[in-house]
Amino acid sequence: MMARTLFSRLIISQSCHNVIIQQLKLAPFTCRTASMVRQISCTVCKFEESDSDERKGPKKTSDPKMEGCKGYIPRFVDPEESLRYMDSEAYKDVYKDEPVWKPYRKNAKGNFYPKIRKTCIRQGAISTASPCPICRDDYLVLDYRNIKLLKQFISEITGKPRNLRQIGLCMRQFKKLQLELAKAQDYGYIEKSFPFRNYDYTYYYNLVSKNKMSESPEDTSQNTNIPAGEPSQNTTEQQSSP
C-alpha cells in the first residue's frame, strides 16, 4: 500500500512542467489499520501417547546396524583400535582412497551454507539425520597418534586444519581435531609452520672479543643473565619469510 502511494505521487510530480521536488513524507507505519481484524479461533488439542513418542524422535539403540543413524548410541573405541581400523579392509571398503570427509555433504538448502553444528551427539546418542564424518563412524577417533586420520583434515601447505565448510565436522569434533593436531605437532609427528630464525652475528663477535680480552679463568659474568652492559642500539630487521 505504502509503495503504491509513493509511486503514484512521483508520476504526478514528473508529469508537471514546473517540477517541484517534493519531500515525500512517509506516513508512520502503525499496526493499527482498519484492514486488520484480529481473528480468534478455537482449536482442540488432541493429546495421544503415540504422538508424543514420534515428536521425540526414534528411540535410542546400541544396535550396530543402526550405526550413523539418528538415535544410535556411539560406542567408546580405544584410540589404538582406531589405529588398527585405519589399516583394515573394512576401512578400505567404505572410504577407499578418498579422505573421510569427501563423500559427506552437509544439507544446505540453496546457496547459503548453514551454521556450523555444535555437536552431532546429544545425551549420548546421535541427534541428527546426517552426522559429521567422524561422529557417524564409531571407529574413527581423533588422536595424536592417529596421524593417518589427522592428516586428512589438514592442508598440506600450511599444516593447519582445513576449512570447516570443506570437512563438514561439528564444532565439538573440530575442537578435538585442533587439540590432537597441536599434540601431534608437539611430538613432531606432523609438521608445523614457523618463521625462519636469523641470528645477529654482531652479538657473537662481541662475545668472542670479550672472552679474548679477559684472561683465564673466564669471567662467568659474561654468560649470566644479569648483564653489566649499557643499553645499545640494535638494528631491528624484520623477519619476513621469503
Binding site: I157, G188, E191, Y203, N223, I226, G229
Partner: protein, 337 residues
C-alpha cells in the same frame, strides 16, 4: 579456545616436563667436547667461514625449501624491465644469504651459581620459589632474544639468578619470539627424538630447534649433536647439503676429530676440492698449518698420517674406489686415443 587452553595445560602437567631433561648425560657429552676450548672463536674466523660456505654449496631448490608456509598464496606473475629484473635478482641474493646463515657453534652456557642475597629469616614465609623479572626496556637485545635479569627467591631464602630453563620460559612469556613455545616441545626430549630420527626428517627438527632454543643452550647442543651423529651413522650427509646446517655439521666433525665418514662421502661423490677444504678446516681448528698442492697427494698424506685410526676403514674403502675409478678413466682415454 578457553577449553582448548585448559586441555593443553592439563596435558603438560601430566607429562612432567621438568623431569625429562637428563642432565647427567648432557653434562658428560659437553665435558668431552668442550674441554678443548671455545669453538666460537674458530667458527667466526673469516677463513673458516669461507671454507664452510664453499662446502655447503648452493642448490636453489634445497636452499629455498619451506617445510610448511604460514599462508597458502598463489604465485604472482609480473612484467618487469631489465632494471627491475636486476633488483629482483638482488632480492634473491639477500634471501639466499639469510637462508644460508649458519647457526653459531658455541660452548654450552654455564648455569649461574652466584648468590645475590641470602636472607634465611624469610624462609618460613616462602612456600614456593618466586620468580622476578625486570620488564624495563633498557637492556641489550640480541635479535630475537632478550637478556633481562630473571631472579628466583628460593624456599631457603636465597636470591639467585634463574637457571637457564626457567629463564628461557619466562623470557618467552614476557618477550615472545615468534614460533617459539614457552614449554619446549616434547619432540626434543631424548626418548621422543629417536623415533623421529628414523624417518630421516633431519632438516625439520634442526630448523625447529633453531627457533626454539638459543645456540648456546644445552638442549640445542644436545639435539644438534645427536642429529649429526645419527647422520654419520647412516651416511645421510647429502640431506643437509646446500642448507644452513651443513657448515656447523662439518665444523662439529672437525672439532671432535671425526671427519673420516664425511670425507669418504665427499670422495665417493668426486668432490675432491671439498675433501681438501675439510682437511684444512680440521687443521685450522687444531692449530696446524694448511697444506696446499696436489689434491690426491694431500688426501693420501692425510690418510696415512693424520686420520683418526678408529674411523679409518671407511676412508680406506673410499680411496680404493677412487683409485679404481681414476684407473678406469685413464684406460678409456688411452683407448679413445
Amino acid at each position: 579456545m578457553a577449553a582448548l587452553r585448559k586441555n593443553m595445560q592439563s596435558f603438560r602437567k601430566l607429562n612432567n616436563i621438568c623431569t625429562s631433561y637428563c642432565r647427567t648425560s648432557i653434562a658428560r657429552h659437553l665435558k668431552t667436547i668442550f674441554s678443548k676450548g671455545d669453538p666460537l672463536e674458530y667458527f667466526l674466523r673469516g677463513d673458516v667461514e669461507t671454507i664452510l660456505r664453499r662446502i655447503t654449496g648452493f642448490d636453489p631448490e634445497r636452499t629455498f625449501f619451506h617445510h610448511k608456509v604460514k599462508y597458502a598464496n598463489r604465485p604472482t606473475y609480473k612484467v618487469l624491465t631489465d632494471e627491475e629484473l636486476q633488483q629482483e635478482y638482488q632480492k634473491g641474493e639477500e634471501i639466499k644469504e639469510r637462508r644460508l646463515q649458519m647457526p653459531p657453534f658455541m660452548n654450552c652456557r654455564e648455569e649461574p651459581d652466584t648468590i645475590i642475597a641470602d636472607d634465611p629469616d624469610i624462609a618460613p614465609a616462602i612456600d614456593s620459589n618466586y620468580v622476578f623479572v625486570d620488564i624495563s626496556e633498557d637492556y641489550e637485545r640480541i635479535k630475537g632474544y632478550s637478556l633481562r635479569p630473571v631472579v628466583i627467591r628460593h624456599e631457603n631464602g636465597q636470591l639467585k639468578p634463574a637457571d637457564w630453563h626457567t629463564f628461557d620460559r619466562v623470557s618467552q612469556i614476557y618477550f615472545p619470539v615468534p614460533g617459539r613455545e614457552v614449554y619446549p616441545p616434547k619432540m626434543f626430549e631424548e626418548d621422543n627424538l629417536e623415533p623421529l630420527l628414523k624417518e630421516e626428517n633431519y632438516l625439520y627438527i634442526l630448523e625447529r630447534a633453531c627457533v626454539q632454543f638459543e645456540p648456546d643452550s644445552s638442549d640445542f647442543i644436545r639435539v644438534t649433536h645427536r642429529i649429526y651423529e645419527h647422520i654419520a651413522a647412516h651416511h645421510c650427509f647429502d640431506c643437509l647439503r646446500s642448507t644452513r646446517f651443513f657448515g656447523p655439521m662439518a665444523f662439529y666433525f672437525a672439532w671432535i676429530n671425526k671427519i673420516e665418514p664425511l670425507l669418504a662421502e665427499m670422495i665417493g661423490r668426486d668432490l675432491l676440492v671439498d675433501a681438501i677444504d675439510l682437511i684444512n678446516l680440521k687443521r685450522i681448528i687444531h692449530n696446524q698449518s694448511i697444506k696446499e698442492g696436489d689434491i690426491l697427494k694431500i688426501i693420501k698424506d692425510y690418510y696415512l698420517e693424520d686420520s683418526n685410526k678408529h674411523h679409518i676403514e671407511v676412508l680406506r674403502d673410499a680411496l680404493n674406489d677412487l683409485e679404481k675409478r681414476l684407473e678406469a678413466k685413464m684406460q678409456k682415454k688411452q683407448e679413445s686415443c
